[in-house]
Symmetry: C2
Amino acid sequence: MSNPTAAILIIGNEILSGRTQDVNVQFIARRLAARGIRLEEVRVIPDVAARIIGAVNELRAAYDMLFTTGGIGPTHDDITSECVAAAFGLPWEHEPRTFALMAERMGETFNEARQRMATMPRGAVPIENAVSLAPGFTIGNVHVMAGVPRIMQAMFDALEPSLPAGAPIAMRAVHGFGVLEGNIAAGLTAIAARYPALDLGSYPFRRDDRGGVAIVAKGTDVAALEAAIGEATTLIAAQDVPAVPGEPAL
Amino acid sequence: MSNPTAAILIIGNEILSGRTQDVNVQFIARRLAARGIRLEEVRVIPDVAARIIGAVNELRAAYDMLFTTGGIGPTHDDITSECVAAAFGLPWEHEPRTFALMAERMGETFNEARQRMATMPRGAVPIENAVSLAPGFTIGNVHVMAGVPRIMQAMFDALEPSLPAGAPIAMRAVHGFGVLEGNIAAGLTAIAARYPALDLGSYPFRRDDRGGVAIVAKGTDVAALEAAIGEATTLIAAQDVPAVPGEPAL
């Protein structure tokens, strides 16, 4: 079972200015890994039409699917939806079902600004969700979601069952407290060479005032993962410092 | 005074897998804004040589400067330095001063793995710093830094005085608790049109159990920023809900 690939495009001046700490990447990344979808790239770009159109077209061509976050609200800086329409060369028009639903629920407050949230590329499928009356949408292999985390998460929840799935990408880890990367590098290189299908990473960490190295293996073959982490545990043990299985909160 | 442009390239399987929450973007973004450098793009890519080389060449051509984070340690998955050399078409070789310093301090523990950290593209200028004996480096307009936040931050501290500067990009904000974006969208569009040199953003927020909208203006003209936020404050006040100046922790 192969693994579909994905990218995330964050349309967000507020991330680029440092005003807001992004938390959407980690949420989406974990959910994709659990579904066996490889997240291959993340981009953050400003709310500029040419940049959005260019990045959507580049990323939707390069990966099996693209998730965008941000820029689908009712205000002047929310231009993602019309840019995605432009990227696909499609008309941007009222989505009948969404328009009717929002008109009914919002009554006279369904003004011009809010009507923008019911306007989508022709043929888009709304991503209805439990939090926001205004949906995201899917067009082709592009899934357009809100930037506000709890709304994005609700949209992802709604979208997830329709995504393709691959073999789950599992992770195993071992932490060597007091271990120095430079002392185990040669041994790790040898382990990595024995398990070419795994992604074996080495990450220095510090937790309270104790430091060390986390060895993390990822892949779809759980037996290989456990064997590789077993070898890494032996390597750490040979350093005469404690090896702690699993993944503490760092 | 114009504003130089920048991009960040995060070389990090651990971000793409969702294992690690990135915190480097926000740190660098804020420091760049204070120095008047516009952060125009962030990319996260895996530890794959062709991807690193391609992204380095694309981003260093597109922006005035590029910052990379991650992949400069001693282990097999640390390939950023040699990939940057390949991107520039330069030999990757021992940097004499760094090599001598690390050899002296590390003695017999300066093994082959650690010698990789003293190996750089020919002509690179080391980024010596207060935390790590192994430096980052600058080659051309590319600044190569560690991924571990406290080491990256020390490298940025060391690097910062040598960066070009522009007019500081200031930010002013007002928060309307209880305000709905759809009710002020038309008014905001008019304000944005009156201040075309500013970047005026509208961001729904939720703080404890209260929600509202943050209106954020960014730009180099502080008088214009304050005038625009003054108009936004009036717009919020007309909603008959409280306007709170400044930027609470959301």
